[in-house]
């Protein structure tokens, strides 16, 4: 079983019985809850934007991060900046050029995807830990440029207002309609990600993640595949950026600040750094915390940091992996019991130690 979520494995044992149906049933329940969300809560005009929609775009951007980490072995802290490029694309076209929203959305997505390719060209030759640092730095460069550039981003004042458009009967100014629109986009992004990961492209990426030299020897253009993966993740993040622009009705440097970058990382880790769907659970936790933690404690960031560390220490697969961890704990106890009952004197299996350093996320 996979003990190291930060370097994945394409080998998965076949699931049977409950293990096979539970994720599907869980997914169905989650989907139904998401669809019914506006009708379940008592004050939809608060819950929809502050919790629902925010969780959706946080989740989408975190999903792009998880995709890169899980299937390519690169932890990118530039995804928020890429989403920001997309959001600024929308803002610039709509506010400065005064063109219709769809043009802005197109420009945003293209700009974001291009930005992701550029980040990849700069950073994708490096080892994972370098990649983390470089993408962090690149994100901060973009933040400082956005804060200073009056002509393009209107510096710290930002670009506003970005009004939600109407598409015939679908009026996004209505918060409930916008929520469903965002939900639809999130579902599409999720399905896209799953499709890509199970395609030949996705399997090739995993091969590159695990054994880049071998793949190179087989004739694969490792660097090219990584760029393509970053472009795809950039595309997903760009969609998140469009949602941000629509949700906040403006773009400003705050969207790509260090705090925003860390928000998405925390979402991914808590949700499950190896799970594409789990990120939404993580996003829910973060949005609930940021809205309601004030009622309990002033030190909300300390609380978040503590939760973050606890998850990393004890539940590295995050919320999405909780079920598996519980099962492992239960089965370990069952095994221990069984062996105590048997008198054959077999020594208890040691948990597999992670002694192989070289295998985790080496790029070159």
């Amino acid at each position: 079983m996979n003990n190291q979520p930060y370097s994945g494995s394409i080998l998965r044992p076949q699931r049977t019985g409950l293990a096979k149906w539970l994720p599907i049933a869980l997914g169905a329940v989650v989907l139904i809850l998401a669809l019914a969300f506006p009708y379940i809560v008592d004050r939809p005009r608060f819950w929809l934007p502050n919790i629902g929609i925010r969780s959706l775009w946080l989740g989408v951007i975190a999903m792009s991060l998880v995709f890169l980490n899980r299937y390519v072995g690169l932890l990118s802290l530039a995804q928020v900046a890429i989403a920001g490029v997309s959001a600024y694309g929308v803002g610039f076209v709509v506010v400065q050029l005064e063109l219709p929203f769809l043009v802005g959305a197109l420009v945003g997505i293209v700009a974001g995807t291009l930005a992701a390719v550029i980040v990849g060209l700069v950073a994708a030759r490096t080892k994972a830990i370098y990649f983390l640092m470089i993408t962090l730095a690149i994100g901060q460069v973009f933040y400082s440029w956005a804060s200073q550039s009056i002509e393009v981003t209107n510096a710290r004042r930002g670009l506003a207002p970005i009004n939600r458009p109407e598409f015939g009967p679908i009026d996004l100014a209505n918060i409930q309609t916008f929520y469903y629109f965002a939900l639809l986009l999130a579902i599409i992004c999720y399905l896209l990600c799953r499709y890509v990961t199970s395609s030949t492209f996705g399997l090739t990426l995993q091969g590159i993640r695990d054994a880049p030299d071998r793949m190179r020897a087989l004739g694969y253009n490792v660097f090219g595949y990584r760029i393509a993966a970053m472009a795809f993740a950039g595309f997903i993040a760009s969609i998140g950026g469009i949602l941000i622009a629509l949700d906040r009705n403006q773009v400003d440097p705050n969207v790509v600040s260090l705090n925003s970058t860390l928000d998405v990382l925390v979402v991914a880790v808590i949700g499950g750094i190896g799970s594409l769907g789990g990120v939404f659970a993580g996003a829910l936790v973060i949005t609930m915390l940021s809205n309601f933690a004030q009622n309990f404690t002033e030190r909300y960031m300390t609380l978040t940091g503590l939760v973050f560390i606890l998850v990393l220490l004890f539940a590295p697969t995050g919320l999405a992996g909780v079920w598996q961890q519980v099962r492992r704990l239960v089965s370990r106890r069952r095994n221990a019991q069984a062996e105590q009952e048997s008198l054959s004197g077999l020594t208890e299996q040691q948990p597999r130690a992670n002694t192989q350093k070289g295998t985790s996320n080496e790029a070159d």
Binding site: Q4, Y6, S7, L75, V122, A123, R125, T126, A128, I129, Y130, L132, M133, I134, L136, A137, I138, Q140, V141, S144, W145, Q148, S149, L258, L262, L265, V269, E298, R299, Y300, M301, T302, T304, G305, L306, F308, I309, L312, L313, P316, N354, T355, Q356, K357, S360, N361
Partner: protein, 287 residues
């Protein structure tokens, strides 16, 4: 001409502070292959502790010693409690230290507030100037900072290349298992190095905090600059950190004069350029 030399000297004295912070980071990475993203937090905490201690005792050196000891011990604590268990999973360590930095930043905000402070030093020393050839009067304090950084750099470099401890460290860098097999207590070495690296950041905090303000946000600022310095200079190399710091300091000061709004952008672009030409950094080794 005098002006250009003056700006260059400003860049180098700024680089002195960057070097002190980055040296701790590169030391830790060089030996343990882990990146601590709580390094900026160590800087700021060192500065705050130095500020409090110096203010209470009226003696800057006591402030510096207090910071070194406190931050070093904290580093030791973090290593033993949080990092030791996952030493091989460098990504996980990076993320855990990130969590530590989140907590640290919030707690420091609660303890010291949001307004800026500086580490107090003898007022006469603060304004004393030295007459330099070609440049004219220059701040004595900044020159002292430069001297301190050079001394520390030389001590570190010599310590690693000449002493027995340094030899053990270098051996551990190259092959931890073999070094352990020869009877060296590698875990203890790791703990010591982590504490030492954190203490260096703490000292940098006191020194930097004498010249520049200490406030929330400086932890992230110095972390980012140390990352850039280490990437440019090469991981695990003290001379590399010195070169990287010098480049970063010079670029940031010269761009502040000619293109002030984009000074930060140019500094990071330096990193991008180095990566494009020589991904392992100027003095880094391809492993």
């Amino acid at each position: 001409m005098a002006q250009i030399l003056g700006i260059a000297l400003n860049g180098l004295t700024l680089a002195a502070v960057y070097f002190m912070v980055a040296s701790g980071l590169t030391l830790i990475f060089g030996l343990m292959r882990v990146i601590t993203l709580a390094h900026g937090t160590s800087y700021l905490l060192g500065g705050y502790i130095g500020y409090v201690a110096a203010r209470e005792t009226g003696n800057w050196f006591i402030g510096a010693i207090a910071a070194i000891v406190a931050v070093g011990l904290l580093g030791l604590f973090i290593h033993q409690v949080l990092i030791k268990w996952f030493q091989d999973d460098d990504m996980r360590v990076a993320l855990i230290t990130l969590g530590v930095s989140l907590i640290g930043a919030d707690l420091m905000l609660a303890a010291f507030g949001g307004t800026a402070t500086q580490v107090p030093i003898d007022p006469e020393l603060q304004v004393a100037t030295v007459q330099l050839p070609l440049i004219g009067p220059y701040s004595l304090l900044r020159l002292l900072v430069l001297v301190v950084a050079i001394v520390i750099g030389v001590l570190l470099a010599l310590g690693i290349s000449r002493t027995r401890f340094g030899a053990v460290v270098r051996a551990g860098v190259d092959d931890a298992q073999m070094t352990a097999a020869t009877g060296v207590n590698v875990p203890v070495i790791f703990a010591v190095i982590f504490a030492l690296g954190s203490a260096l950041a703490g000292l940098a905090g006191v020194v930097g905090g004498t010249l520049f303000p200490l406030m929330p946000g400086q932890d992230a600022n110095y972390l980012l600059f140390s990352l850039v310095v280490v990437i440019v200079g090469g991981m695990g190399s003290i001379p590399g950190a010195a070169i990287g710091a010098a480049l970063v300091g010079l670029v940031s000061q010269f761009t502040l004069v000619y293109v002030p709004t984009y000074s930060l952008v140019f500094t990071f672009t330096l990193m991008v350029v180095v990566l494009a030409i020589r991904p392992q950094g100027i003095m880094g080794r391809k492993s």
